[in-house]
């Protein structure tokens, strides 16, 4: 097994061999058609493995209006089978992978490995180059993903690299950006995000912020960029930890940022201070086009390098589940780590069916006000993620948090309407669907915590209702008898 994969191409080839990726040879249109195909795949697959009724990843080889060789790919991690594969997971039970992989990720977080720099001549992403007046973003099949989006979102499955001007910290984050014209993009940069904090420092100095956008990167780098790696920690190091091997990186052409050497397309340039252009709207992973169109920072492109036969990767985000599955596993792992360090051992699942908007947390040993304690711990230690994951459901450890039906059952049956619903004013992101337009612009909206734990003063044998399930309410001998005779019942 070739884990860790050298690049996304090798990973996709391996997926295709195992029926987890389909290459589409028929001509397709970058204008809405590829977005619609990827969206339908996501909605039919809902994160399942192909062998369990899910849908494959897709590689488009023939794009209308573009020369042979310019390709696009989507839904790469749209199923649990690909998420498991990209981390080298060997287990057979893919549902168990949702919890097992969290430990793999926590190990990677706690044991980072620095990237290894390769010479430019050895970096595939340097095979082609356009610079200065030759820069033309329209050379690439940047997709119009949803009808009515603010523009062609070329940057949805990528990392944007920026350097903290006060340290050596380089942040890789996934931030959407759309084409304005052939050498300009505008992007959503939220002040609370790491890139927002870095950009603010440049703006205070009235200096442009150098950037590099790497598209078509390996999936582990993408996931690291799209999740809440702590402030001040370089995602490249965490990627190395999760790969268990250094990630090859290469220096940019016009600045000293380093990006994955096997990127398919690299866009370099500056984000000037104080400059704004229209950005959005865009159909987001929550399933809504919620963030208001607004004046947002501008990426001015100075150079583009790209591989021969480049693959423009994208996510046609929308109603869950799409590629949020992998992010959910990493965010859950980080939340579990944060809680453990706070002395609260718990299992965590960022519920992807909720649009990745709700953390479900099963506590092993509830204490007084445990729900509030957990919410406060996560919002203070994982502020960025909880700007977007704004609902918390705290349950006892008997609930299968990975099973959406069981989660709904817990909400329906265990949350007391008076004492079990805790509302708090928090920072929210502009994508928050339930927030008013004004709240979204000001990025301030209430969060809610559902306390579905049984009250500690309820006697376990008197007040706590016993669960009436096959496994819990029948004696073991009856269960064994029923299972033994199941076929004889004709069932």
């Amino acid at each position: 097994m070739p884990f860790p994969y050298v690049d996304e191409r090798v990973f996709m080839e391996e997926c295709e061999k195992e029926g987890m990726l389909v290459t589409v040879k028929k001509e397709v249109d970058w204008n809405l058609e590829v977005g619609a195909i990827a969206r339908r795949l996501a909605e039919l697959g809902i994160g399942r493995a192909v062998r369990e009724g899910g849908r494959p990843a897709v590689l488009f080889e023939n794009i209308r209006g573009f020369p042979k060789g310019f390709r696009m790919a989507a839904q790469i991690l749209g199923g649990i089978d690909r998420v498991a594969k990209v981390f080298g997971y060997k287990g057979e039970d893919l549902n168990k992978a949702k919890s097992d992989l969290q430990q793999v990720i926590r190990d990677g977080l706690n044991n980072p490995i620095k990237p290894i720099r390769v010479d430019r001549k050895d970096a595939p992403c340097k095979q082609n180059k356009m610079e200065g007046d030759d820069v033309n973003l329209y050379k690439f099949p940047a997709p119009m993903l949803h009808d009515g989006d603010g523009g062609r979102y070329m940057v949805t499955r990528a990392v944007v690299a920026t350097r903290d001007p006060d340290s050596d910290w380089v942040n890789w984050g996934t931030y959407r950006a759309m084409l304005i014209d052939k050498k300009t993009l505008s992007g959503l940069i939220v002040p609370g995000q790491h890139i927002g904090k870095i950009y603010r420092k440049y703006e205070e100095r009235n200096e442009p912020m150098p950037f590099a956008i790497a598209i078509g990167i390996d999936s582990i780098s993408f996931l690291a960029g799209a999740t809440g790696v702590p402030y001040g920690v370089s995602e490249a190091d965490v990627v190395g930890g999760m790969r268990k091997k250094p990630l090859p990186v290469v220096k940019c052409e016009t600045n000293d940022l380093e990006i994955p050497a096997y990127s398919e397309i690299v866009i370099e340039g500056i984000v000037p201070p104080g400059l704004r252009a229209w950005e959005g709207p865009y159909g987001e992973y929550t399933g809504y086009r919620a963030s208001p169109r607004d004046r947002r920072p501008v990426y001015i492109v100075k150079a583009i390098t790209y591989r021969n036969d480049p693959i423009l990767t994208f996510v046609s985000t929308g109603v869950p589940v799409d590629e949020t599955l992998g992010n959910a596993i990493i965010n859950s792992a980080m939340a579990a780590e944060v809680l453990e360090r706070a002395g609260i051992p718990a299992r965590v699942w960022e519920q992807v069916d909720s649009g990745a908007c709700m953390f479900v947390i099963a506590v092993k040993r509830p204490t007084p006000n445990i729900a509030t304690m957990i919410k406060n711990t996560l919002t203070s230690q994982m502020g960025l993620i909880t700007n977007y994951t704004f609902k918390f459901l705290i349950v006892n450890d008997d609930v299968d948090i990975y099973d959406s039906n069981k989660v709904l059952w817990a909400i329906g049956t265990r949350v007391h309407p008076r004492r079990g619903i805790i509302i708090s004013d928090e920072v929210c992101g502009p994508l928050t669907p339930y927030a008013s337009l004004d709240e979204r612009l000001k990025m301030n909206a209430p969060h809610v915590t559902f306390d579905a734990t049984w009250p500690l003063d309820w006697h376990p044998s008197i007040a706590v209702p016993p669960v009436a399930s096959f496994k819990s309410i029948y004696p073991q001998e009856i269960q064994d008898k029923v299972l033994e005779n199941w076929k004889e019942y004709g069932l």
Partner: protein, 86 residues
């Protein structure tokens, strides 16, 4: 007859009618955005001199009717109008 697109934030009255007005429009084929000076007619009559303008709310939903747009002058690419120099 070309079709262009533009966005409004709150109210169609943000774009004045019948007088020269500078606005960003995007090509409905490539989505490349540029700045133009134009005159808008919100109740377009068939005119060979005007192109059509699809107006979208800030969440992307289009107004039910296309407007007419007569481009008077090309002001340039968006990046040319951002007033940033290094």
């Amino acid at each position: 007859m070309a079709i262009y697109e533009t966005f409004i934030l709150q109210d169609p009255s943000e774009i004045p009618e019948g007088k020269e007005y500078v606005l960003e429009i995007r090509d409905s084929e490539t989505y490349e955005t540029r700045v133009v000076k134009a005159v808008i007619d919100k109740s377009p009559k068939k005119s060979i001199e005007s192109d059509l303008l699809r107006v979208r709310w800030q969440r992307g939903m289009p107004l039910p009717e296309l407007w007419a747009i007569k481009i008077i002058e090309e002001v340039g690419a968006v990046s040319d109008n951002l007033k940033y120099t290094e």
